[in-house]
């Protein structure tokens, strides 16, 4: 049984077909990245998996059950700022547990532990506007992981960060993912950045330029783990992989670019 399966999923907004019949399967414990030109429908794909959006045709299955309404097995790390600005870091992280009925004291104690784990020790009292972009991403990560979801959906989570912070957070994400107790979590990771995709993933899926986007290529990344995303970039295996995938991705990016210039 796959952790996540898109079965000929179609998304239309009015007369525009964003996703054409998209099929994609992700095995439990797999780390899959999706790359594609801007505006092709990557976030849309993720929203389908999250249950924030219902497909116009086709279906999405999560761990054997059809997704309808919010997908409770999944956690979502948003590209934008999703923290509640009126809650400090601790209460943001504790929020999911509180919604599920856990007491304030108990949920806050767990939140403290998670803040430590994502490198936010002692920052529990800070409100989002008092934190740096990197700290906010860490808080979002803890907010998602505290609920122990089986599937992690991540939409360009690190694209707003500077290069150094980004590399650090990628490594931390990998170590959280690899060292988590219990079964390894399934990750569907959206990014613009091919190097990030290869460095993190077991598989990289390339989406075609829109409209009517579909996956057009699927690469297995057999680089050894544990990885250091900064160092692995210098290996030959990585660079070969990069060249191969870029060969496919470039055409799609150019298509989108030409269309935007023509328009």
């Amino acid at each position: 049984m796959s952790a996540l399966a898109f079965n000929q999923a179609v998304v239309r907004f009015g007369s525009a077909t964003i996703l054409g019949g998209t099929s994609l399967e992700i095995a439990p414990g797999e780390f899959v990245s999706v790359v594609g030109p801007t505006g092709c429908g990557k976030s849309t794909l993720l929203n389908l998996a999250a249950g924030l959006l219902a497909p116009s045709a086709g279906s999405v299955d999560c761990l054997g059950t059809k997704v309808s309404g919010i997908n409770r097995r999944a956690g979502y790390l948003f590209q934008g700022e999703s923290l509640m600005p009126w809650r400090n870091a601790r209460d943001n992280v504790a929020a999911g547990l509180q919604f599920a009925g856990m007491s304030k004291a108990q949920s806050r104690a767990q939140a403290e532990a998670w803040l430590d784990r994502v490198g936010l020790h002692g920052a529990g009292d800070k409100y989002p506007h008092q934190m740096s972009g990197g700290m906010r991403k860490r808080a979002q990560l803890a907010q998602m992981l505290i609920l122990d979801p089986d599937i992690l959906l991540m939409d360009e989570p690190f694209s707003a960060l500077d290069v150094q912070t980004r590399l650090m957070m990628e490594n931390e994400l990998l170590s959280l993912w690899q060292n988590s107790e219990g079964a390894r979590k399934t990750v569907l990771f959206i990014t613009h950045d091919l190097e990030e995709a290869i460095g993190l993933s077991d598989r990289v899926v390339v989406l075609s330029a829109g409209p009517s986007t579909t996956p057009i290529a699927d690469f297995r990344i057999d680089l050894p783990r544990p990885r250091d995303v900064a160092e692995i970039r210098h290996t030959h295996a990585f660079q070969d992989m990069h060249a191969k995938i870029w060969d496919v991705l470039r055409d799609q990016v150019l298509k989108t670019y030409r269309r935007s210039v023509a328009a």
Partner: protein, 254 residues
């Protein structure tokens, strides 16, 4: 330094007023005399005559503020989350808001009598719309990312309302707090002035009836001091309650 300049400016203004009334340039019959006004204020407080009136005016203000804010928040949340109902009611809301509310005072006096009820009612109509429009705006401008993020954390509709819409709306309510508290006060005083048996507005009305212009000015001075005190209280509440905001927004009026 600034406060020194302020003190000098106040001294100059009151000094000029004093001299003007003393020399007859400003007729004491119309402009009063600062010394007499001050004496009147002192007398009100030393005899304790003012307290019951002040208590009544401030209670009316408080009740108008509390009821108007509660009503505005509830109505704003409800209509903000049901756009269809809002579009049906829109012209009625606009009409009610455009109506000069002061003119309702005699009607409220007929409905609720000359006691506190009619004062609270007028204050309510003033406060309600300010809060209502701010909450409406707050609900509309809730960040969709925060909303989806909270939904992904498993929040039910009720919890979304309580933990996202309400706090988002409250930040807008707070940004209009200075205006709505001021309006509650204005509503109470005006309604008192237009017909009542107690309150600072009533004191002014009485003084005017016997051409005691000093007492009118004394009443105005007391009201102004109260308004300033209320405003300072609001500022204090703001800094305590909105710690999560980068800075207090500019007040938004409607």
């Amino acid at each position: 330094m600034t406060s020194l300049y302020r003190a000098i400016l106040a001294g100059l203004l009151i000094g000029a007023w004093y001299l003007g009334s003393k020399t007859g340039v400003l007729s004491p019959l119309f402009f009063g005399r600062p010394s007499m006004i001050a004496a009147q204020v002192v007398e009100w407080f030393s005899t304790g005559e003012i307290w019951p009136h002040l208590a009544i005016t401030l209670s009316e203000t408080l009740m108008a503020f509390a009821s108007g804010t509660t009503g505005g928040v509830l109505a704003g949340l409800w209509l903000g989350l049901s756009p269809r109902t809002l579009s049906v009611l829109d012209p009625f809301i606009k009409a009610a808001n455009a109506m000069p509310r002061v003119i309702l005072a005699p009607i409220f006096a007929m409905w609720f009598g000359l006691g506190m009820g009619s004062k609270v009612a007028l204050g309510f109509t003033l406060v309600f719309f300010i809060v209502f429009f701010n909450v409406l705006q707050g609900v509309r401008e809730v960040s969709p990312v925060v909303l989806n993020g909270t939904r992904m954390l498993g929040a039910s509709r009720r919890q979304l309302l309580r933990h996202v819409y309400l706090p988002a709306a409250m930040s807008w309510v707070f940004s209009s707090l200075h205006i709505s508290v001021g309006m509650a006060f204005v509503g109470a005083v005006i309604a008192e002035y237009l017909g009542s048996a107690a309150g600072v507005g009533y004191l002014i009305l009485q003084a005017q009836g016997v051409f005691d212009v000093d007492a009118v000015f004394a009443g105005i001075a007391v009201l102004t001091a109260c308004a300033l005190a209320l405003d300072a209280l609001v500022t204090l509440a703001e800094t305590k309650l909105l710690v999560w905001q980068p800075r207090a927004d500019m007040p938004r009026d409607n």
